[in-house]
């Protein structure tokens, strides 16, 4: 995706690797590789504290940021897997919408009221996983490039969501559902717990299991993975299902937050999620991925939004500032990561 810079040669395909790549431990552990991100986040927080003082630094505000981060965070964790495995998924927002709509139809809600709200949750997860399965099959067996396959899913899933909901926002009447997911545990919102759990599980899965190892292999060199006896196609399908599941979880979270299901939910999540993943340091071309980086990417974007809201910047100026800050954050990240991981 990028190209080889002159002096410090650095293409993923080359022998001469960027300095960062030479310290695999630091790189994967997140500590070294992510210094720049940490610094960017800390700087943002300092700006927040200086400009908004206690309003920024309060516990309530931190929870607000985390709750905002939670939904897109869960999607981004799933996206990290798909991108690391050499794919991409544009349909995440649409999957969230479809799952939220399906899980809040009158029929599902009736079921949930009669039995348990777990019915709504399982519906959302199933719908997400099913969409992911279709994406995966199209990519792995239909051999349609991921961009196009998931673009098709984006259109189809949103359309379907509109048809099912008749373009009405469906209000959730199953109170236990809202109470559970809208509540808190030890002072921390359930939504934030879910995010933390998904992130932790994602980290373990990517870095400590054979599944994760295979994900790197498939994304780094699919042919080598195949020759090593990895079932590349099956693994690819699994990655998209995983992301679909994450979208199902995100749908549940969004349903809890809004007490609704709607075909308009999850707008532009694809861009937000990919941006968080890529800023976090995952290679868009596959083979290199970091969950810790993704979490930082998500936090940087959400904190940015929060600081903007607190500071009452003119809306258009916010856009311009956002652009500048993205560039600065990435440059910072590059320079710092390069420095710390150099032996």
């Amino acid at each position: 995706m990028s190209e080889a810079p002159e002096q410090t040669a650095s293409t993923q395909a080359t022998v001469t690797q960027p300095a960062a790549a030479r310290a695999p431990n630091l790189l994967r552990s997140g500590a070294g590789r992510n210094v720049g991100l940490v610094v960017a986040l800390v700087l943002l927080c300092i700006v927040g504290i200086v400009t908004a003082g206690d309003r920024f630094a309060s516990g309530a505000n931190v929870l607000t940021i985390l709750r905002l981060a939670a939904v897109i965070g869960v999607v981004s964790i799933g996206m990290t897997f798909v991108i690391t495995g050499g794919g991409i998924d544009l349909s995440v927002g649409a999957m969230v919408a479809l799952a939220s709509v399906w899980a809040t139809t009158l029929a599902t809600q009736q079921l949930a009221a009669d039995f348990h709200w777990i019915m709504m949750v399982s519906t959302a997860l199933l719908v997400g996983a099913a969409c992911g399965l279709v994406n995966g099959l199209l990519v792995a067996y239909g051999k349609i490039v991921p961009f196009v396959a998931t673009l098709a899913m984006l259109a189809a899933a949103r359309g379907l969501a509109e048809i099912i909901s008749d373009r009405r926002t469906q209000i959730i009447t199953v109170n236990p559902f809202v109470d559970f997911f809208g509540g808190s545990l030890i002072g921390v919102p359930v939504l934030v717990w879910i995010f933390l759990l998904v992130a932790a599980a994602g980290w373990v899965l990517l870095n400590r299991t054979t599944f994760g190892r295979r994900t790197f292999a498939v994304g780094g060199n699919a042919e080598a993975a195949r020759l090593a006896g990895i079932k590349v196609q099956r693994h690819t399908v699994a990655l998209y299902i995983l992301l679909g599941l994450c979208c199902g979880i995100a749908a549940v979270m969004l349903m809890a937050r809004t007490t609704t299901g709607s075909a308009t939910h999850g707008q532009l999540y694809e861009l937000d999620a990919i941006a968080a993943v890529v800023i976090g340091g995952t290679l868009l071309s596959g083979g290199r991925g970091t969950i810790v980086g993704t979490v930082f990417g998500v936090l940087i974007f959400t904190t940015l939004n929060n600081v903007f809201t607190l500071n009452n910047l003119s809306i258009s100026a916010q856009s311009v500032a956002k652009g500048l800050i993205i560039v600065i954050a990435v440059l910072l990240q590059q320079r710092l990561a390069a420095r710390t991981t150099r032996p």
């Binding site: 080359t14 431990n25 994304g219 042919e223 195949r226």
Partner: protein, 500 residues
């Protein structure tokens, strides 16, 4: 019956190419079976059929007397077939240990047991004589030879009954090759069979038991005795001609010829230090040394692909800008890099476009390319180097490894360079084409080009070069005329740092 593997009548077609046209091969337990053939003869394709990576269009495979259908690499792996592929099949982003155990990592309930993987990787690397390679290092950061070692370690990590090695020695220096042979002998002692592919006939003699020769996708001889069969006979079987590659006679270089390339005090910390040499017009300077001695780095730094920490490079007296390929190219320097796939080739592009990429301007007026002139020029060179298949429209990806190497060379032969830096120019090139390349190098030199040559084959360095620089751990330990030193002395120098 002692036959472990019998392949009969294997046919494999690619669109427009019949790569295998009825190949037979039989391998016995515990033997080293050598596969010979010119570039493009079909050796790698046969190997890929054997490992389940390609499905044959016809033919049968018997393993232990039973017919085996190998529908995927997994099938082959399960039947005890492991392979070191010609094109390194590693995942650059993963670590050494992860690559070694790719597809069968030690795990419990799906959780990888990394310590076990690390210690077992270390063990295997040690048995290969490479305990210096750290298991946790990312493979992409290893030099070619290191990667080759990892590839070998991977093949050994499976309890295979048959290990296929597709030109494993192409990037190895003599010491490494000896090491490799030690490992192979260890394997055969345990009754493991090895299929060994190489273009270096002397290796066949050293390690091989029996030989099968392929020509144009068909078996032309099988079961030949690896030690007894005369070289002439092998070459005749492979090429249909009887050539023997000999180094062309030495030319006189006039002491008065102008110095073209002047390298002084070149240093890159941790890679090499204080490298200095000069090359006159028409002179060939050889760089000898072990893998990792920094030869490639020196070449790349001279070329500006790496920035020197200190030191200077002058061409025709003009100082080159450090770290600028542009500046070098403008001054007439060319580099045929070591890693053809990642550093030189545009795999999806046609052969002719790969050849002309550095000389495009010559075929263009006002930026518009004259495709025909381009193709003709490229085709002429391809013919001279015997690139097969002969058309220049094929994507380079579909060429065999040796033919790809010729394409890289052709690129720089097309350009009228003042200085040509050749890094392993005959890597993977067959005997026939090898003599063509030697002749070409001499012709270039005769035309006044200053040449710097890096090769892991000491014989090649000594045979071609006028003067030799011996590198050891990034330092020049010897500089002098090639005729004043012999192979043993060079080997002593590279290993001990002095002549014993």
């Amino acid at each position: 019956m002692n036959d472990l593997l019998t392949m009969t009548g294997i046919v494999k077609e690619f669109p427009g190419v019949r790569a295998l046209d009825g190949v037979d091969l039989d391998v016995r337990r515990g033997e080293v079976h050598c596969l010979l053939g010119q570039n493009g003869a079909g050796k790698s394709t046969l190997i890929r059929v054997l490992t389940g990576a390609h499905q044959p269009d016809a033919g049968t495979i018997h393993l232990n007397g039973e017919e085996a259908r190998l529908n995927s690499p997994t099938d082959a792996i399960q039947r005890g077939i492991a392979a070191i592929y010609q094109e390194l099949d590693l995942v650059p982003e993963l670590t050494v240990a992860e690559n070694i155990f790719l597809g069968h990592e030690p795990a419990r309930f799906g959780f990888s047991r990394r310590h076990q993987a690390t210690s077992r990787a270390r063990e295997i690397l040690r048995s290969l004589g490479h305990s210096e390679i750290p298991p946790h290092r990312t493979v992409g950061s290893l030099p070619a030879a290191g990667q080759q070692v990892v590839s070998m370690a991977r093949a050994l990590s499976r309890d295979a009954r048959l290990i296929v090695m597709d030109e494993p020695s192409a990037v190895l220096d003599p010491e490494e090759v000896a090491n490799l042979f030690r490992v192979i002998r260890g394997l055969t002692e345990r009754d493991v069979a090895v299929v060994y592919i190489s273009h270096r006939l002397e290796e066949i003699r050293q390690i091989g038991d029996r030989v099968t020769v392929l020509k144009d996708g068909a078996t032309v001889a099988t079961g030949l005795d690896a030690r007894e069969t005369p070289t002439k006979e092998l070459i005749r079987l492979m090429t249909g001609r009887s050539i023997e590659y000999v180094f062309p006679p030495r030319r006189e270089i006039l002491g008065t010829a102008p110095v073209v390339l002047e390298v002084a005090d070149l240093t890159r910390p941790a890679e090499f230090a204080d490298i200095g040499f000069t090359v006159r017009a028409g002179e060939i300077l050889g760089l000898a040394g072990l893998v990792g001695s920094g030869r490639s780095e020196v070449l790349e730094t001279v070329y500006g692909a790496r920035r020197a920490a200190t030191g200077s490079v002058r061409v025709d007296g003009r100082l080159l800008r450090s770290g600028s390929v542009q500046s070098a190219v403008k001054a007439g320097v060319g580099l045929a890099p070591e890693e053809r796939k990642s550093q030189a080739l545009l795999l999806d592009e046609a052969v002719y476009k790969n050849i002309t990429v550095s000389t495009m301007q010559r075929f263009a007026s006002a930026g518009f390319l004259n495709g025909r002139a381009e193709r003709e020029a490229a085709a002429e060179l391809a013919r001279a180097l015997d690139v097969r298949p002969s058309g220049v429209e094929h994507p380079v990806r579909n060429l065999s490894g040796g033919n790809q190497q010729k394409v890289v060379l052709a690129r720089w032969l097309l350009r009228d360079c003042r200085v040509l830096l050749l890094d392993e120019p005959t890597r993977g090139v067959d005997v026939g084409a090898r003599s063509e390349i030697y002749a070409l190098i001499h012709k270039l030199a005769a035309n006044g080009v200053a040449i710097v040559l890096v090769s892991s084959e000491v014989e090649e360095v000594l045979g071609l070069a006028d003067r030799v620089v011996v590198l050891r751990e990034g330092r020049a330990v010897h500089t002098g005329p090639a005729q004043d030193i012999d192979e043993h002395q060079v080997l002593d120098l590279v290993m001990e740092g002095s002549v014993a």
